[in-house]
């Protein structure tokens, strides 16, 4: 794939990031793979496939593209759109079983919220190995003998990803803002500019304020601060230009307040490092039953936030950094001892079989119902 085509794919798909973009499923050969070459699996979101292919060019490997309905790995797996069934389907129908002598499948770690390694193994004989969080780490992962170092397993929110989220939010909101062309044509472009500026400001300055997002007060204070900053800039500019008037201040005050509200309403949920902060009734805590835990350590391998510590001598895990948990549920889905579960603020328990069957993002009413039942 040419560099231009790759750049174009990245730009277009980042602009339309909130929409699914399916591409062809099935087997892709990278380089000249042989009977011992590694077999990797990814989703069929076009942008992801382009990035994975780019990350592993120069390596001889088989890439299986599973049907995630055109959605990225983490969202699809957590939302029930990239499941055991999709992995089993691509293993059994792509012809890969005739091409390699081994039965080791490297899955993206973020797929652990929806794909059960144990079920894939039982139904197909393939052993699941959890690969790194980011495709760019795949070469290092393979070089280390398919072992993911702690840094490869942990997700962070560096500026390129923050910029991507800023664009992903700004572009659909701008499309909506363009509706203004119908009844306030001269206002449409300034509103679009405002959306992009605020979005970039919010996501790029994230490291400065993110600790304060943990409380509702902090979140409201952030939104107000952003709004006041904009208003101060607006007042300064209009006073300087001599165009300040009450209608102008009120109009832009209201518009900017709406834009700030939209962008910050679930800011934490737009990051990979916090739970969505918007729905207090759906905030869950991870709970570990020490009686059931046998220290297998799969939780540590699949946790993207490095929450667990496993003592392999005592054969027991501990939830060492519960405050860093993003409630993705991967550990619960994978634990072979059923030693982990979610607990809600009201004390309701979401057992592992419910998380496995219905996926974290689809618990919704089930969570509320189970809380009411207790």
């Amino acid at each position: 794939m040419s560099y231009l085509h790759y750049a174009w794919t990245n730009i277009l798909q980042t602009l339309l990031r909130v929409l699914p973009f399916p591409c062809r499923t099935g087997l892709v050969k990278i380089g000249a793979p042989g009977r011992d070459s590694p077999v990797l699996l990814t989703c069929n979101f076009r942008l992801t496939v382009a990035r994975v292919r780019r990350a592993i060019q120069g390596i001889d490997a088989y890439l299986l593209v599973a049907n995630s309905r055109g959605i990225n790995v983490w969202c699809a797996a957590t939302g029930g759109l990239l499941t055991n069934h999709d992995v089993i389907a691509v293993l059994k129908t792509s012809g890969i079983e005739d091409l390699v002598d081994h039965r080791q499948l490297i899955l993206p770690q973020l797929a652990a919220t929806g794909i059960e390694g144990a079920v894939v193994h039982r139904k197909t004989g393939w052993t699941v190995v959890w690969g790194p969080v980011r495709a760019s780490a795949i070469p290092a992962f393979l070089k280390a003998g398919s072992q993911a170092a702690a840094s490869m397993r942990t997700i962070d929110f560096p500026w390129p990803q923050r910029l991507e989220m800023a664009v992903a939010w700004a572009s659909p909101i701008s499309l909506l803002a363009l509706l203004l062309l119908l009844f306030w044509p001269q206002g449409a472009l300034p509103v679009v500019g405002l959306v992009w500026a605020l979005s970039a400001l919010i996501f790029l300055s994230f490291p400065l304020y993110h600790e304060r997002l943990r409380t509702t007060g902090g979140r409201i204070a952030l939104a107000l601060l952003l709004w006041l900053l904009f208003m101060a800039a607006l007042l300064a500019a209009t006073i300087h230009a001599g165009t300040l008037s009450w209608p102008l201040a009120i109009r832009w005050g209201a518009i900017s307040l709406i834009v700030v509200a939209i962008l910050t309403v679930d800011l934490m949920g737009s990051t990979p490092v916090y739970k969505g902060g918007f729905q207090e009734d759906r905030l869950l805590q991870i709970a570990l039953d020490g009686e059931l835990c046998t220290g297998v350590g799969l939780c540590e391998q699949v946790c993207p936030r490095n929450v667990f510590e496993v003592d392999y001598q005592q054969r027991v895990a501990t939830v060492a950094k519960a405050e860093d948990c993003v409630q993705c549920g991967a550990c619960i889905v994978q634990c072979p001892c059923d030693a982990l579960h979610f607990r809600s603020a009201t004390g309701a328990v979401v057992p592992p079989e419910t998380v496995r069957r219905f996926k974290v993002n689809l618990l919704g009413r089930r969570l509320v119902d189970s809380a009411r039942a207790t």
Binding site: V18, P22, R24, T25, G26, L27, N67, R69, W74, C75, T78, G79, G80, T83, H85, D86, I88, A89, V90, L91, K92, T93, S94, G95, K123, V265, D266, G269, S270, P272, K275, G276, F278, Q279, V326, Q327, C328, R357, F358, V360, N361, L362, L363, G364, R365
Partner: protein, 222 residues
Amino acid sequence: MSTFVLMRILESAPQRYDLGIRLLTLGRVQRAYDRLASYIDPGQRVLDIGCGTGPLALRAARRGASVRAIDVNPQMLEIAARHGRDTGLSDRIELVEMSVAELDAERSESYDVVMSGLCLSELGDDELAYTLKQVTRILRPGGLLLVADEVRPQSLVTRMLHSLVRIPLAILTYVISQRTTRPIAGLHDKLTQAGLSIMSADTSRLGSFIELMAKKPDKATA
């Protein structure tokens, strides 16, 4: 993680699936299901592939068949089970969470009829070829495959006309149900390759929606 709005929409998507699909096919699908189900006789053993909320399975059960209905989506299956209870047909429908990739576990020549409504178009090319091969294996000689699904129109002109109508409908359907289908290309050839004979195939005016009945050849003629 995921945002509030997306979560709310997703978790209620299966409830809105029926409405979404009805829009995408402009209501054709219900009538197509009625006609397809009329091929089913009492006492027959029927497999419904990708049963979803169960519209075909319920029709088959109502005609007195005993139906095994498979789908990969546990929420769809929950809704199908509820429809089964509401209509008193539960004892004739066996709902199983299973994908087409596991059809190799079904016994050879164990079904009189295999049917599929709007499922084949959700499969990738490899999966579709695999599914049709398995369907041919598990049908008894003379058994029927009934399909209602979206296909790609044959000629370029109708294909373009079809796109004009479909794109806005597809967007609307996606907004409502977060689901879409990819029309199947070359279904006739794929069925023939799998060893099935097409007995009847009716396409809608633009050639985009197909109602099809195919037959596994009887032993004598095979």
